[in-house]
Symmetry: C2
Subunit: 699 residues, 2 copies
């Protein structure tokens, strides 16, 4: 992959002397950015541009070529790629548009490209992209003419949209964030975003990675690659539209939109998801500071108003405004005039105007063990202070390097001065107070997450009866149906998820006999392949206390179902003992098209029905993750026994979630799974799956 | 108030020839901004600055003076203000700091200022502020030396912090938003933020108002003034810290933080609250566009990626991407090359590069009746397009003027070009896609809210037995206690809020007799002045079905309470018939120190206990507002009968809220009030207050 960014010799194909020729722009960009390799221009018209000969064909180039940049009409690209292969070119960037996005003909051209690339072992970026930039060696091949608008740095970007990529480069330039590498991956026919990410994680010049994604080719690969990164990864994932438009058969599926799964997957893999450009810019800046290792913050402000705003934000961000030691304050106090404002945190600099003293205060604050980071809020009073403000900033930069603690530096000053600072210092400059604190929160959270990812987490493997579960699933698949209620409950049982034992009954007499054996009251539930929502059609009867009640319920249920589904084959009913007390949860899972198996948990009753609140994670999950799922449900405090409610057996829920995760990973043929409800009994008494559905992938 | 911004003759007091003198900066600012009146410099040292004589005293000025700007040490200010009064000066801006914020001595100086101003009928801004700016007449008196960094325009600002005010001016300058008037109100000893707001609403030069507030002096006045405004008002209210630190006796009080009341009050008064500077800048820009009268949006984009991001945002913002008429699309299609992208909304401009055609498409789109507004996403490909891009923008500006529909114009271009557009055009330029759509949402919401505010809303006055309620409250106040349970229920009854009729019983026999009369089962509740949470101390017993049960409960309760509160005078128990079925709500209210009476509603049970979800509004409330309160509760769908739940009598809740509002407005001496629970019966059956607390203001 390195060759995509560091070729020694490049052929730009599609160059002509016409002034609006896009290939010409590519050559001009390479010259302007000072590319340190050889550039060969190629175009059927031949001729020359700016003292440079245009070769008619790739094969006409006398020297070897590492990489071809192709910007010719779509129909010509396969022939050109073939020629490149014969010439021994092994890397290409195909910028031309007009492939699958233009219809069937384009799709066929793409197939040809894949075939040719395979045959010649060519790896290529695109088609339908704007190319790549590597600032270290002046490699700059986008087809729009670019002047040097961005400084070199250590942030690299992979974008699925050229337009969005360019706008992020403009944002970075505006914020003074330096670029290392940029690549627009287009239709990702050969090299995809995950491939580039893998390379950038190892790339010595890159310290922070930004991804713009409209689709995710291989979610599991993305998660796997991202987890190995010791560099922060920011991602903007768009195309979330038409949420819930997919047809969901189970509760679980309707409660876990694809986008919620993206959120979960990114969080699990340590990818920081952002949703707007402002946050992107601020996060790019803050993640270039040393990690904030704890929540103890000091705010030092020249304006009382800014201190108030910052303190509000700290409260919302969960930072602690650490109490400053008395002797420290006494030391600081010496710098102030007499009888001024009460010294505290936030520290209001009040009538102290000496910027050298500010630097001393920051230094002393950073030395405190009780402080993990500092927010410095500077209001430049007028342009006469610019010089001393710059010296202060330089001092702060060196303090950050020395102490390894972050100082988020905010300044209110003229646009010119702010721009000067952004372009001349390799240090983040913030110009909004609230946004500064929010960004610092991301720095602190990333520090925590990355520590955990680097430690790794064991996934428990429970001893289960996999073969028995497999047999039930296998039979249903052969019969092209989903699991019956009784089978679904049995599969859960084989995976150690406690269920209410039940008995299948085909007649009233069998049902009464079963009820007698297990003791009244009982519940009876219809068993039938095609009925999705049993209770909607009267297929569930609870709290039956006598043989007569069982008979009435059985007969009523059968006649009702037979009327509604005359063609349906009934497989009898399931008789279960009634379980009362405790709390209801819903547990479930499904196969996500992008990320594979996911598990989900929600509080039962109106929480899930009306409020639709659930938590989803990509399987497999560790015990810690299962705990996090349960405890991040809003209202989960009642499970722990808040406000006089009796505590529930949360441990059993956590284990059931882990076992469910194992089941879904073992059987990718399970498309959707619902346990609804899981009745959670009081602490120490476990929990029980009372009802279950397992829907299979029929392909 | 006009004189604060448009004096004909100014005395700047505190000027000396020293180079770091702040008064000197004020004079220099007036000169640089081209003030159109006379400036007199005053300072005890005398001398001159830049060919201008410094008068020793105010009285030494030969001409009349409209306004004094005072920047001298705090202890000298009362004497100077007195001298101003004698000279006939009626307006002043006191910028000096060192008053109440420095302690007791400063507070006494403030009292002198108030007394002097009263005597001479002087109105003044400050102290402890950075002064005022009026761009129309070049009046610019902040003490920091300011160069002309911001263009004139129609946005005015009132700030309680000088530092924050300056940083917002920097933001406006950076975004190309023009300023009309600015004032930093400091300690607001005489003129407060509400006064200035009132003036700006009438001020012909002001079209949009921004307030930065750290405290609210008179919330009801603020709401009243804001409601009269036909100009958008944006407000940043900080100092929300230490939420919940106030001691609350009732549920209601603990569920309605002061900041939640601020949110409600602003919404009710049509003030748009913002929480960060990025949103402030974007909202200032978007509100300068014509109002978006509906939710039908068209997105026109040059980059497919930006179109995807914009469509996502529209979904989150509740905009509808209106379907474009077939004939319109056929017309547009002519501009495109053959066989291109499917034309739809968002309209991807694809391979269409003619910027004149873009303008035509925008024009045709704006002419559609089905479109309320347009988002135009422009990606400038390179600097060669700058000229045609500017012409496109000019065309769009005139289309907006012609059609009265908003076009939110986004551009991705170099920082230089973006800055050129911001400074040279009086039109909002956006540089982030998501933020553009979010801003447009605010424009559309404000359009709706302002229409409603201008229509006005009637507050229903129910016929109530006010005198009877007053008598009960009066007696309790005389006895320096809160209302007893039975009295609280009676007060509600007098205001037409349905309650469960109960009987007070002092002995077991009375309790049994009462139960017999009303029929079993019954509930009994302790009546005692000092017991806040009855159920926590066994003061509530429900579901008593026999005389024996009543006896046991009564005796158990009395002995338990007597043990816990040996000094407490017991006033017997309240016997009530049991009411079952329905849903539980909590209704309440309290006196807010800033905004007066507020009402609150929440779903009962774990919603309010664990999730703490409630909705609060400032009283008095209209019927529409009461409805909005109930229906904005999350989970309120169950009240309407969602998902197979039986519908509740929501109408009775709405009326109870209105009556509660009337009660709280009538009796400001009610500090806190809880109805917990209000049991809401099925539709048509009403609702009943089962328990109530009324806590009185003891002052």
């Amino acid at each position: 992959m390195r060759e995509i960014f560091y070729p020694r010799s490049v052929a730009v194909i599609g160059v002509s002397p016409k002034p609006d020729n896009l290939g010409r722009n590519i050559v001009a960009n390479l010259v302007e950015y000072g590319f340190d390799g050889v550039v060969n221009a190629v175009g059927p018209s031949g001729g020359m541009i700016e003292t440079r000969r245009i070769y008619h064909t790739v094969s006409g180039i006398p020297d070897a070529v590492d990489l071809a940049v192709i910007m010719t009409p779509a129909r010509t690209v396969p022939g050109i790629l073939e020629e490149c292969g014969q010439k021994g070119v092994r890397w290409a960037i195909i910028e031309t548009a007009g492939f699958r996005e233009y219809g069937e003909e384009g799709r066929q051209l793409e197939q040809q490209l894949v075939e040719i690339a395979d045959r010649h072992q060519i790896r290529f970026v695109g088609p339908n992209c704007i190319g790549a930039i590597s600032m270290e060696n002046g490699f700059c091949v986008p087809f729009p003419r670019l002047h040097k608008f961005i400084k070199p740095g250590d942030v690299s970007m992979v974008s699925q949209s050229g337009g969005v990529g360019m706008s992020v480069l403009n944002l970075m330039s505006n914020e003074g964030i330096g670029l290392n590498k940029f690549v627009s991956v287009g239709n990702m026919l050969n090299i995809d975003a995950e491939d580039v990410l893998e390379y950038l994680i190892e790339d010595p010049g890159t310290e922070l990675i930004f991804l713009y994604l409209e689709s995710i080719r291989d979610g599991q690969k993305l998660m796997h690659v991202a987890r190995t990164s010791t560099k922060p990864i920011l991602a903007f994932k768009s195309n979330i539209g038409n949420l819930g438009n997919t047809i969901a058969l189970s509760h679980t599926a309707s409660l876990t939109s694809d986008d919620k799964v993206v959120d979960a997957a990114f969080e699990q893999a340590g990818i920081i998801r952002i949703h707007d450009a402002t946050t992107l810019g601020n996060n790019m800046k803050i993640l270039r500071l040393p990690p904030m290792k704890g929540k103890n913050l000091a705010i030092i402000s020249r304006s009382g108003g800014h201190a108030v705003i910052a303190a509000d934000s700290c409260e919302l961000s969960g930072f602690q405004l650490a109490e400053l030691p008395e002797e420290f304050l006494r030391e600081i106090e010496k710098h102030f005039r007499a009888s001024v404002i009460n010294l505290t945190n936030p520290l209001d600099l009040g009538d102290l105007f000496d910027l050298n003293v500010y630097a001393q205060i920051v230094e002393q604050t950073l030395q405190l063990d009780s402080i993990d980071g500092v927010v410095f809020l500077h209001t430049a009073i007028s342009t006469t202070e610019n010089e001393s403000s710059r010296r202060l900033l330089e001092h702060i930069i060196s303090l950050v390097q020395q102490t390894g603690k972050p100082v988020a530096y905010y300044i209110s000053a003229s646009a010119e001065e702010v721009n000067y600072l952004k372009q001349h210092y390799d240090f983040p400059i913030f110009t909004q107070v609230v946004e500064t604190i929010r960004a610092l929160e991301i720095n602190q959270q990333y520090c925590k997450i990355s520590k955990r990812l680097q430690a790794g987490e064991a996934i428990e493997q429970f001893p289960v009866e996999k073969a028995k579960a497999a047999a039930l699933i296998q039979t249903a698949r052969q019969e092209q149906r989903d699991l019956l209620l009784s089978e679904a409950i049995a599969v859960l049982g084989h995976y150690g998820i406690p269920t209410v034992s039940g008995q299948v009954a085909l007649t009233v007499e069998e049902a009464q006999q079963a009820a007698e054996q297990m003791g009244y009251p009982v519940a009876i539930k219809i068993i039938a392949d095609q009925i999705s929502h049993k209770s909607d059609v009267g297929g569930v009867q609870l709290n039956l206390r006598t043989p007569g009640a069982v008979k009435d319920a059985f007969e009523d249920m059968i006649s009702r179902i037979e009327k509604l589904y005359p063609d349906e084959k009934l497989d009898g009913v399931l008789v279960q003992p009634m379980v009362t007390g405790g709390r209801e949860l819903i547990l479930g899972g499904r196969q996500d098209p992008q990320f594979g198996p996911v598990v989900v948990v929600g509080l039962g009753g109106i929480f899930v029905e009306i409020i639709g609140q659930t938590v989803v994670r990509v399987a497999p999950i560790s015990r810690r993750l299962a705990e996090e799922m349960v405890f991040s449900l809003s209202g989960s405090q009642i499970l722990r026994g808040a406000r006089g409610h009796r505590a529930s057996d949360v441990d059993s829920v956590i284990e059931s979630l882990q076992r469910l995760s194992q089941l879904l990973v073992d059987f990718p043929e399970i498309a959707e799974l619902d346990i609804n409800p899981l009745r959670v009994l009081p602490e120490g008494e476990g929990s029980l799956a009372l009802d279950a559905r397992i829907i299979l992938n029929k392909e």
